[in-house]
């Protein structure tokens, strides 16, 4: 009896405390909002937003609703996070491996890189890349083409856009090629298990992915044209490029700053992962006759990944949350557009900040879930 009370009482008190705290804040907010004549509600989401956005992935116009503005701004946040995660991973792996290099120069450059970018506040780096880029980049009329057809200017990076005919045929061919590659890998593994023979999977896969879509051009009626950016004069000294795709400098600066900053942390995770594998593993693998490539692929990496994945997940989450610093340089992300402009125009501070917080929470939890699933998949499966 006594024990039961001892067990339940603290839990009961905790629950009561949580209810009390939530209740207090809710009632407090309600009373204050009543006093000031502020309504609470989400009706504003269907109202016309009546502001424009600089850069959107989906069609958006000021006549659309606040809800649509939210969706479009969220996609901008996801785009930055996605690009940032890709680049910071690639960079991070390269730098992390470079830090373990035997070469004095490579090893030390990598160490300097990590120490430098890791220890400067991210917001400063974003400002640096943005304003440095704005000062250093040419005006559109002075821009020299990069790779012949793209133009890097102060108003953005202009690249040709693709105009497809029968895109669906091309996509079906590509998907067919990928499915074929998956089957090939399964088949190759079976062959190896049964007969010990190794098929040249890599070359066949590459050939499949190259040839099938190419066929769609030759016999599937698929055509691809490029629309080139063309210089247009707005006023005596004011030019822009028209046509093609324009990547705003805000997006470029933000992705650059986020990837450089986060890559240093990823690099340290990678280094820790590889160093965490004992030397004996490598030597044992070598002694049974595996090639250095096979050692890395079959022995070192599967074990190192287990150490690398969990802390790297944290870095991905950090990057996503840090992307909200976009507001400082006018990239229309969720914080700038929704928690900024929309909040100002509607005055619905509590609702909008609440939605924004829940959104970031959901994105973070989704990334964490994905990485946990991947982590589970590569875990040691005890038999």
């Amino acid at each position: 009896m006594n024990n039961k009370i001892k067990r339940i009482l603290p839990q009961l008190l905790t629950v009561l405390f949580v209810i009390f705290v939530f209740g207090f804040f809710t009632i407090n907010a309600q009373v204050n909002m009543d006093n000031r004549g502020i309504d609470f509600g989400f009706g504003f989401l269907s109202q016309e937003a009546s502001f424009d956005m600089q850069f959107t992935l989906l069609d958006y116009d000021g006549q659309d609703s606040y809800l649509w503005a939210y969706v479009v701004a969220l996609l901008n946040t996801l785009l930055v996070s996605f690009l940032g995660i890709i680049f910071c991973t690639i960079l991070g792996v390269i730098i992390g491996v470079a830090r373990l290099s035997q070469n004095f120069l490579i090893k030390n450059s990598a160490a300097w890189y990590v120490e430098f970018f890791r220890n400067i506040p991210l917001l400063l780096q974003i400002f640096f890349w943005y304003y440095a880029a704005l000062r250093a980049l040419p005006l559109p009329e002075n821009a020299q083409p990069w790779f012949g057809v793209t133009y890097m200017t102060i108003k953005g990076y202009y690249i040709p856009s693709m105009i497809w005919e029968n895109l669906n045929v091309f996509m079906s061919c590509l998907i067919a090629a990928i499915v074929a590659v998956i089957f090939l890998r399964v088949y190759a593994k079976k062959i190896q298990e049964r007969e010990g023979k190794q098929l040249p999977v890599l070359y066949i896969s590459l050939a499949l992915i190259a040839i099938l879509p190419l066929l769609s051009f030759l016999i599937g009626g698929v055509t691809l044209d490029f629309e080139m950016p063309v210089l247009k004069q707005l006023a005596q000294t004011s030019f822009i490029f028209e046509g093609g795709i324009a990547l705003p400098p805000e997006l470029i600066a933000l992705v650059l700053a986020l990837s450089l900053y986060t890559s240093t942390f990823v690099a340290e995770c990678v280094r820790a992962g590889i160093q965490g594998i004992s030397k004996g593993q490598k030597e044992a693998a070598a002694s049974v006759g595996l090639t250095p490539n096979q050692i890395l692929k079959l022995v070192i990496m599967p074990q190192a990944l287990r150490i690398i994945i969990p802390p790297t997940t944290n870095q991905y989450l950090n990057l996503t949350k840090n992307s909200s610093l976009a507001a400082a340089i006018a990239y229309p992300d969720l914080v700038l557009v929704f928690a900024g402009t929309a909040l100002m125009q509607t005055g619905k501070a509590i609702e909008i900040v609440g939605i924004t917080m829940l959104t970031y929470l959901s994105i973070s939890l989704a990334i964490a879930a994905l990485m946990n699933w991947y982590n589970k998949r590569i875990e040691i499966k005890e038999k």
Binding site: M33, N35, R36, G37, I38, S50, F51, D52, M53, Q54, G62, Y131, L134, R135, L139, I154, K155, K232, L234, A235, Q236, T237, S238, I240, E242, P248, P249, E250, A327, A328, I329, A330, P332, L336, G340, T341, L343, M344, Q345, T346, G347, A349
Partner: protein, 345 residues
Amino acid sequence: MFKHLKQLTSLFAMIAVLFAFTTEAMAKKSKTLKNTQKKGFVRCGVSQGLPGFSNADASGNWTGIDVDVCRAVAAAVLGDANKVKFTPLSAKERFTALTSGEIDVLARNTTWTLSRDADIGLTFVGVNFYDGQGFMVRKSSGITSVDQFKNGISACTNIGTTTELNMRDFFNSRGISYEPVAFEKADEVVAAYDAGRCDTYTTDKSGLAAQRTKMKNPDEHIVLPETISKEPLGPVVRQGDAVWEDIVRWSLNTMIEAEEYGITSANADSMKTSDNPQIKRLVGAEGEMGAAFGLDNEWNLRIIKQVGNYGESYKRNIADTGILPDRGPNQLWTKGGILYVPPAR
């Protein structure tokens, strides 16, 4: 003893009722006013640096016509125009700071609109600057009118302002496609425009004139003649404290009316013996003009003596600094402008 308990309770009840009546009579005294007097300073929200309106110098002294509204309120309720705590706010933060009670007056070049007045728990108390939105361009572009804007033009501006909405109305009604580049802070907008990120910079014309002084080469930029919107800028208070609202409103009105009657910081004391009863009321020599606010009778005299009238404030902050030497609509109604305030009587 218990016999007397009943009588005692009824006595207490009577006292309580009496108290209720007296507090009812004293309820005129505003809660915000009481808190302000207890703290000893007026909590005022201003901009993060807009020359002429609210700008801090190197040693942290704030000046500007918005700042003067706060100083006037401090002079009226605390007797000292310097007893103001300024909180610099971005356009995005300003209303939340006011409704949440972090500040008591918002004097931050804020446009009076229906939705702001009605929706978000704010009350505008008046207009201390009549403005309108305009465009700035580089002189070298050869653009001299908004009629020369073409498809693809990029425009730098602030988020969280009426500017963002007006800009869309303007470009849409003319069928011009444009690229809006919206920053959170004014300094960032200026830096980006100055670097060449945008073809034009749009905000209130007074703001354009003021920010132009911050550019690398102010002479390379011009403000186009067209005005695309009405922007009446004025101080704002929280909804729900009618007396405080009145104090701020009449502090501003006093400054404007003092100019109308020629009362300045220099001659205010001598005006006490004026023959004109309207002037005497403005310097606290006639009538009971402060009682309704819970203030003494010389609250308006202190405003004029310590801060000056509207004309002095304008000259000191906006004309003499070269931002907008011409008063335009911000001239008294008696001199061809539209400044017209109800009489203080």
